[in-house]
Structure formats: C-alpha cells, structure tokens
Symmetry: C2
Subunit: 410 residues, 2 copies
C-alpha cells in the first residue's frame, strides 16, 4: 500500500521534485538529537552570541515607533529603513550599491534560490567550487542545473581549471549560466581566496563574460586577519566586472539566523527579476524581522556585536585546533581556520587508522560525538577522507570533550 502510494505520488511530482532529497546535514542533525551527543555537525552559529538584551530594547522601540506598520504587508523589495541600513553596512565594506540594486532576502539562502530560478533552465551549467555549500547546490539541483566542479586551492580557485571547465561545457553546446563562490571562509573548506586570486577571478569573469554569484555570509566572521574585500567591493578596479556580479549577504552568522534577514546586491536587470520571483514566492520577508534588523544596524551596536562574536569563535577555534592535534595527531590533517564556523579536515590513514570519513562518523556517533562527512559537499568525485567539524555551538570545554571522543573513535 505504502509502496503503491509512493509510486502514485512520483507520477504526480515535477521532475525537479523527483530529484529532491533531505540534505545529508539534516539527516545527520536528526541523529544528534540523542541525549548526551556533542555535535560538531550543524552550520549553526552559537546562541551564546545572540544579543538578547539588545533585541529586547530594539523590539520595544519597533513597537513604540512603528506600531501597527511593522505588522503590515510591504513591497517585496524590502522595508525602506532596512534597505538604507544594508546599503550603509555594505558601504562600510567598500560596496557602493544603488537603491535599485538591493533586495532583502530570507537569509542569503533565498538569494541563491532566486538566482537559480531566474537564471537556470534544465541542463544549464553552474560552476561550483570543489567542495561547495550543500544549501546552494541543492537549490541549483532543484533548478535542474548541471553542476561542474572547479578545483579550490589554499589561495582560491584554480583559474586555469575554471577556464578549462567553462570551455569544455561551452564546446559541448551547453550554456554556463554562472559560477558560484564563497570567497571568504568557505563552507565547508574554510578557505579564503587571496586578494590577488580575487582580482584574477574578476578578470577571468570578464574574459569569459561569466556571471559570478558571490555568497558572503562569513566575511565579517574573522578572528585572525580580516579577509580581503569581497569580489563586489573589488569590482570597481576591474572595468566591466561589476555587471557580472550578484552578491548575497546575511545577518545569520553575525547577528541571528532566526531573523531570516539577508540581502542580494545585483545589477538592476537581474535584481528586478529576482524581486518578481520573490513576490510570488513569499510576498516579502517578515516586516517585523526587517524592522528589528534595521533598528539593530542603525543603533550602532554592530561593531560591539562583531567583537563579541569574533572573540567567542576565536577561542573555540583555537581549542578545537589544539585538541585535534593532541587527540588525533597525524591521523588527521587540517589548516587552522582564521574565520567562519568550520574546520575542514582530511583523514590521513596514518598508522593504519580509519581514512573513510563516513565510517568514522558512524563510530563517532557511537562514542557520543557527531560531525558531517565531506562527501555531500562535492558535485562529483568526492574525497571520502574529508570531513567538516563546526566549532561554533559547543563551548571550549565541550569541544575538548568532543574531540577526545573523536580520538576514542579512531
């Protein structure tokens, strides 16, 4: 009966839907509901960093000053004070955006989905970093994109590989619609493209007339050196590159993911289509959440908020790095992250230890610690020895305990 029903539904679904699956991270998250598990799996920021007291003040202000207006429908583009605050916040990071170039989105995730919907026809190519962010590749897959990986080194994209992949796809008669990158503290690899690599990427985009979708949720989340400016900020130095850039930003990792407030900065033509698409997708992002975010940004609290966030994550990242060295030694290889939320590591197999991250993940859960194997982050040809560890949600003590359990699981 159940099987018959499932078949009947398969015939009703769109071809896109037939390919949809719950993400590997979600499935892993279900496992970690077990009591006592220390989880390095999810991509969540630490709730310890959410400024709840400041939010209380801000919310009182929103109700007192805006009243019923903050509960009403607004235009899809976004609440005017938030659009202004975003443009100011972006300007401080070297991004000059006209009013016609900014759209408020539900985190940066919606920006990626909108871009996919307005650019991709089934079979069109999207170039992605190897590895890349699952939330993005899920959206591109749902638009029935063909995803093609480009090698990512410690300094950024392998631009020769980018050119080669672009040309191979084009020569095969396929349209390469865009390249998707997270240039700062990438999820999952933690890699930041260097300044020169970013500049060179903009030149190549211009050379190939290739749209670049820049996802930047982690750019402000550094505890070592600040990353170089975003591609969008750097585009002013590379004539003609600006009109090839769509930039997605978010408050999720630095203020609160639960607000679901992000933004897209893109050329007016692209932004107008994305706005039309958002109009029938959800009408607009929560007015109340937008009013709260706008007042928070305008209140002048962000520099202090960022200071708190950077300090918390810096301490946790340091603790995790030290513990990994101590407990796993040469069985694991990684680069100490300078920002973001993740360690990206590789099991070396040294001393005959396990080198398959999926097998290791199963053993780790038995020992009371969870993480995400690296395989789902690859468009194709995964490296099964890779894994991602988040240091964001567990405190320093739990991090030490969790990594000790990883040592036991080895």
């Amino acid at each position: 009966m159940t099987e018959k029903l499932a078949t009947a539904w398969d015939q009703r679904f769109s071809s896109a839907a037939r390919g949809m699956r719950f993400s590997a991270i979600r499935r892993m998250s279900a496992l970690i509901e077990k009591p006592g598990i220390i989880s390095f799996a999810p991509g969540q920021p630490s709730p310890d960093t959410f400024p709840v007291d400041a939010f209380r003040t801000i919310l009182e202000e929103v109700l007192a000053r805006e009243g019923a207006g903050s509960f009403q429908y607004i235009l899809t583009r976004g609440l005017a004070p938030l659009l202004a605050a975003i443009r100011e916040y972006a300007a401080a990071k070297g991004i000059v955006a006209a009013a016609s170039e900014v759209l408020v989105t539900e985190g940066s995730q919606q920006g990626l989905d909108l871009v996919a919907r307005v650019l991709i026809d089934p079979g069109d190519v999207v170039l992605v970093e190897r590895p890349s962010y699952i939330g993005a590749t899920s959206a591109f897959r749902a638009a029935q994109a063909r995803m093609v990986g480009v090698r990512l080194g410690p300094e950024g994209l392998d631009l020769d590989h980018l050119r080669a992949q672009y040309r191979a796809e084009t020569a095969a008669g396929r349209r390469v619609k865009f390249l998707y990158v997270i240039p700062s503290f990438q999820n999952p690899s933690g890699i930041s493209h260097s300044l020169s690599s970013r500049r060179a990427l903009l030149e190549v985009a211009r050379e190939l007339d290739l749209l670049v979708v820049e996802d930047d949720p982690y750019g402000d989340l550094y505890f070592g050196a600040a990353p170089p400016p975003s591609l969008l900020a750097l585009s002013k130095d590379v004539p003609g590159s600006r009109e090839l850039l769509a930039h997605c930003g978010s408050l999720s990792k630095v203020l609160s993911p639960g607000l679901r407030v992000g933004w897209m900065v893109a050329p007016p033509e692209l932004l107008a289509k994305a706005t039309m698409c958002k109009q029938f997708s959800d009408a607009h992002t929560s007015t109340f959440a937008q009013a709260t975010a706008a007042r928070y940004l305008k209140s002048g609290r962000m520099p202090e908020t960022l200071k708190v966030v950077r300090k918390a994550y810096g301490a946790r990242a340091q603790a995790m790095g030290e513990a990994l060295k101590k407990e796993l030694g040469d069985a694991i290889a990684f680069t100490q992250p300078q920002g973001g939320l993740f360690f990206w590591a590789r099991l070396t197999g040294a001393g005959g230890k396990v080198s398959d991250a999926a097998a290791f993940a199963k053993r780790a859960i038995d020992k009371g610690v969870a993480f995400v194997p690296g395989t789902p982050f690859y468009a194709a040809n995964p490296d099964p020895a890779t894994l991602r560890l988040s240091f964001a949600t567990a405190d320093v003590e739990k991090i030490r305990e969790g990594v000790a359990r990883l040592g036991n699981a080895l």
Copy 2:
C-alpha cells in the same frame, strides 16, 4: 546601451524568468502613492485591526521564556509549539492533521509556490477558477504551467465545466496536475462555494483522481454567516478525497500579514517534498515570527481578535455597499459580500456610462480614488467590465468619500 543590456540579460535569464512580470496590483499600488488618493486597490488587511498591545505582551514573553532560542536556526518544518498551535487551531475548524501533514510557510503564498514547484513541469495543466487570485497564478505561471479556467458561479464551481476542461486537456495528451480553488470569500470574486457544491467538488476530484489545492486565507473573515467548512474538513465525509487535498492557511488576514506565518496541510508524501523545497528556498520561516505566532494562538486571544476584525470589516463592507448603490446606481452590479476583503463588481454600461474597467480606473485615479480592474484575474478571455474594490484599509468615512469620487469619475 540600455536596450543592448536588456537583450544581453534576456539571453541569460531562464525561460521562466523571461515570462515574469511585476503584478498589475503592484503597478497599481505604485500609482496610489500619490498624496490624497483613497485606495480600494490593495489586498491588505486594515492595520487598525492589528493587536499591537497584545503583541507587545507576547514579545516580552517570547524573549523572557525562549530567549536566544527564538533567534536560532530551526528545522524547516517549523517551530514545534507553532506546529502544535496550528494543529489545534485547525482542529477547531474540523481539520484533523497529523504532525507529518503540517508545514509552516511564509503566509499561504509560499504554500502555493511550493506546491507549484514540486508538482508542475513546463506545459502541465493547472485548472483555476474564473476569475482567480493573481499571486497564485503568477506562481503557477513561473512554473510554466498551462492555466485553464473553470467557470465560477454564485454557488461555486461549474462542475460540468470542470469535467469538460479536465477531459479536453487530458485528451490533448496533457497532464492536469491540480485544481486551485479559494472556496471561501474568494479573491477577487468574494464568492463562497456552498456546502453542497463543496461536497460535489470532492466527489469529482475523487472521480477524476484530481489533486485540489485549497487556499483558505479568508475562511475566518466573515461578518455575515460563517462559510461552510473547508474542503479539507469535509473530506472525512468523502472516502479517498483527503489524500487528494493540499490546504493552505494563513494568519495574514486575521492577525498580521507582516509576520508572514501561514501553513500547509497535505498528505505526508507531498508535504515532505514541499518541505525539502522550502529547505533550500529559505531554510525556514523566521523563528522569532513563529514563536510570536505560537504564543498568540496559545494565549487564547484569537476569538476576541476575530470578533474585532469581523466587526471592523462588516461595518466597512456595509458602508461601501450603500455608497456604491447611492453613487453609482445601476451603472454597477455587485453582490454584497458576507466576508473577505473585496467587492467584485461589473460595470453595466447603463445610461451610456463607461463599461470598460481599465478606462474607468484611469479616470478614477484622476478623481483621487484607486481600484484594480478585473482583467488580470482571468487566465484567459477576461471580462473587461469587471473590477475589484477592497473595503479593508479605508475607514467608513474614507469609503464614502472614495465611492463619491468613483461616482464623479463615471
């Protein structure tokens, strides 16, 4: 230059995006920004009805009790207390929904978009009422559905026409994916399907094995007699019909549209795909908005809120009906609405008066009053004499003044 750019962008866009336009209502809304205009155009509820003081109390509770948790990521399906509150709210209206059958959405709008994305391949048929809601048809059009209208009479759908349209499309080799209906106080027509019409529709759905997407944002918004139970509530009387129903509900029209909280109740197979689709669309609906909605529903305030809303709209609808009769006489024909937000009217052309609603709308704006002509609400073959007037946002005095201006514009 601009033209060249526009062409270049057209080549980059997906075929769905090339067909996207800003809605007629949005374009009309831009016009009514003029100072002094009285607007009967938008589909917004009245901010006078938003319980701002109660929200203040609720927000304090959310911060005090849930604190940082209300700013964190949650599972896509929705916040557990809100899912529970929605199931309770629905149960009071005769809808028994299992936990696996409910998804929190961004208003009912997102439910419609998700249904379209997981069911429609380009060229698939969606049957829609004649006329129908623009926000829904925009989402279906973006999924590249072929929309086919079914006649709507004062008692509900013309079921012979429904069968005929279904069979014609199927005979032509096309797949009819679903029928979209707003059975209570439809936007724009104000029509409610009668109880017997609803039961008969469920029988026909069963006979044709046809999915029905029931959109129900207005069911609680009555000031005359309550409408019959929803199709979903009635499905228990028609064996086999329940598994053919997706039901979209919302707090937008009875509590606050700015919260962007709605829900979908659907068979588990369909709901799971919609949830996967929402996962990469926006991760989840604002935690904070969900926590607020959950506490509001659980607080026991809804009966009083509904009383206030119904009273306010009842008075406005009565004032508009009286004014229309007085000022426009036999030049306009309409049925007095018993709920919802709209008058749907038809220019009769009596006494040689204008009978084209688009021409009338232009003249009306010159006289300082705005409304939406009916044409965009039709999938095809529009009736150009029809128009939609919202009585929701203007108070009784403004309604009288606005209708007097309509009289002048005739």
